[in-house]
């Protein structure tokens, strides 16, 4: 089941790194209510990552704590998009919007997967993801329509994020195997569904998707090639765990 493992590692690593990154807003959010909401969603993402690490553990990998906290950054298979620093709230909201729509579509596809444990997780976390997407859509539209400055900032955040977002769909070595086994339809199918979902919302917000001639997906994350931003994050995230890996919490 190398094909399924590859899929689950990239999913879980995306969710862990994204959740950890987003949690860096805790205490620094724009207003109290939003701070709580965004922190809570960051925590959800880490919970989703844990559920997938648990599946990997049942497939013979180390336990979820070791997978999360005790691997070098080069072992991570997350896309580079999620490891980028938070920047300002415009970029964080645009990334939240682009990533979470892909996340929702991926889990919707997996809800009917022939690999039952992942289908079960997908069905269980459906409601949480629905809220995440509702949150992202609301902020994207509101910030894009507030005033000229906010609209310009959202458009430039979208431009900056776009090629990284396309990197979410970097194909693995087992696309056809996953498809033929009925586990997962594949990154190309996912990307098509994602485009269908985000396009009308971006249009409603009054923003423009960058011209297709400029598209140039940022790849490499799925093979373990990362930006300089991942290593400090991974070291900081596992710092306490590594003080005493055997500690009971």
């Amino acid at each position: 089941m190398e094909s399924a493992k590859e899929l689950f590692f990239k999913m879980a690593d995306d969710l862990l790194i994204f959740g950890h990154r987003n949690s860096e807003w805790t205490g620094l959010g724009p207003i109290l209510e939003e701070d709580i909401a965004f922190s809570s969603m960051a925590q959800d993402k880490i919970g989703h990552a844990q559920a997938i690490y648990q599946i990997l553990h049942e497939m013979g990998e180390a336990d979820s704590d070791a997978l999360a906290f005790n691997r070098p950054s080069s072992a991570f298979r997350n896309c580079q998009f999620v490891e980028l620093p938070n920047g300002e709230y415009d970029f964080s909201m645009v990334r939240h919007f682009l990533f979470d729509h892909a996340d929702q579509q991926r889990f919707e596809m997996l809800a009917t997967s022939a690999f039952e444990p992942i289908a079960k997780v997908a069905r269980k976390i459906k409601g949480e993801i629905k809220y995440h997407v509702f949150h992202a859509d609301t902020w994207l539209v509101k910030l894009s329509q507030a005033n000229e400055e906010s609209k310009a900032r959202m458009q430039s955040a979208l431009n900056e994020a776009w090629n990284y977002a396309l990197g979410i769909f970097e194909e693995g070595d087992f696309e056809s195997d996953l498809r033929s086994k009925g586990i997962f339809e594949g990154e190309a199918a996912l990307k098509a569904r994602w485009m269908d979902k985000i396009s009308p919302i971006i249009e409603k917000a009054g923003l423009r998707i960058p011209d297709e001639s400029t598209w140039n997906p940022v790849l490499g994350g799925r093979k373990g090639y990362h930006s300089d931003h991942l290593d400090p994050l991974v070291l900081e995230m596992g710092e306490v765990f590594r003080l005493d890996p055997g500690a009971e919490w």
């Binding site: 860096e24 805790t26 205490g27 620094l28 207003i31 109290l32 209510e33 939003e34 709580i36 909401a37 809570s40 809220y131 509702f134 949150h135 609301t138 902020w139 509101k142 507030a146 900081e236």
Partner: protein, 124 residues
């Protein structure tokens, strides 16, 4: 710059003397009253307020503030400005004349009768 044990805070390079001017009243989003329903058919109960830029955002925040834990099926948000309320200066309209205790449940002394009945039942 603020040096914190929390590396995120140190990285944020926050000035010790916050250069941001004090907020004026209009910098605050308006408030929405939140009503929470535990199960379908129950009354929506008022649970508090949230600050929000529009009703959709108020729903987003209400869900996280007031329905994150426990059981919920529905929430309402209503702009505080839309609530028509009585005036505290008129609180005396709620005062009840003492002679009208017969209009209150407490005015009926039935517990003795009930206990007496229960006792009688228990003996049987």
């Amino acid at each position: 710059m603020i040096q914190s044990l929390d590396p995120r805070v140190t990285r944020a390079q926050i000035e010790l003397n916050n250069p941001i001017d004090p907020l004026t009243e209009l910098d605050q989003w308006e408030t929405y009253e939140v009503f929470h329903q535990k199960k379908r058919g129950d009354q929506h109960i008022h649970v508090g307020i949230v600050h929000a830029a529009n009703p959709e955002m108020a729903l987003l925040f209400a869900k996280e503030q007031y329905a994150r834990r426990g059981v919920s099926v529905n929430i309402w948000v209503v702009k505080t400005a839309q609530v028509y309320s009585s005036d505290y200066a008129d609180s005396d309209i709620f005062e009840t004349v003492p002679e009208k205790v017969y209009r209150e449940a407490g005015g009926y002394k039935v517990m003795e009768k009930i206990n007496k009945y229960k006792k009688a039942q228990a003996v049987k």
